[in-house]
Point group: C2
DNA sequence: GCGTCACCTTACGCGCACGTCAAGGTGAGA
DNA sequence: TCTCACCTTGACGTGCGCGTAAGGTGACGC
């Protein structure tokens, strides 16, 4: 039976939910894409829902953007930073530090945004190109239907 | 000195123009992504402008969509089919065959379109997500600027 | 106690997409 | 004819992203 200690998941469940293998989860951890999860006494990994979302994000970045894990690592490290900021947001040190951290976060997010925006634009370009081709082909087809002579 | 026999290019020039290595060009040929180019007497490969465009398309599909060369091969084979259709368009057999080929081409193009459309949509989703985050962060920053007390 | 099951680490293996020599042939000018 | 840049075909090497045992641990059920 699974453990369901509140919101913690074992590696098998995380694998099932995210569609990756356990090996992949350990691999991501090894490569620094996932922070080392907490453990049970026996050494079993205990993942949070946040970890699950991280995995899903990694997969999206892999499949949508074709990014390498090294590149993705940079991005998720940035995400980590954001989480840290939110965590210590209210109770922490001076507002100067908050401000500088926040600006860093914004800079990182803007970078991510720029990357995605560019790809999205290129994809839309390809999309429109294909739509044009399709119209052409359909035009030809219509001509054929209209003039059945060889 | 390069040869410039009309529109034919040696592998080195193609490499330079497309930004891939000569090895990569031979590799693509080996894998069936590029049709075997014509050759000089001595065996040197002679590429056409069309080949150059094919290479550029392959690279786009790789980088934008993160597709494997095997997947790309399917797509460019479809492109090849289209080219064949256009080549033998007027002088070839019955209009029935034309029609069926054309419909096949349309089906292939629609598939490509569907793939790209989906990716483009997902990317736009991510893009909007990031834009939302950015607004949030900028709001926080504004709050900080307004209330300088720790 | 014993089996089963889900997990653990360690470590070698694999497919992909090329990189990188090595050894030699080709083409055109001095 | 010589030279030299450019090309040829192997064939082995490399980095990435995992796959796949092999051997062991801890908790549960009988």
């Amino acid at each position: 039976m699974a453990i369901r200690d509140g919101a913690f998941l074992q590696i098998g469940e995380v694998a099932e939910r995210t569609g990756v293998t356990q090996r992949t989860l350990r691999f991501y951890e090894e490569k620094g894409l996932l922070k080392p999860p907490s453990r049970m006494d026996g050494g079993f990994r205990l993942y949070s829902e946040e970890d699950v979302q991280r995995v899903e994000q990694i997969r999206r970045l892999q499949k949508l953007l074709g990014m390498s894990l090294a590149e993705i690592k940079d991005l998720v490290e940035a995400e980590e930073l954001k989480t840290q900021i939110r965590a210590g947001w209210s109770r922490e040190a001076g507002s100067d530090e908050k401000r500088s951290r926040l600006m860093e976060t914004i800079a990182i997010t803007e970078k991510q945004h720029a990357i995605i925006r560019e790809k999205a634009e290129q994809l839309q370009h390809m999309q429109h190109e294909l739509e044009g081709k399709l119209e052409t082909y359909r035009g030809w087809l219509a001509q054929l239907e209209a003039a059945p002579a060889g």
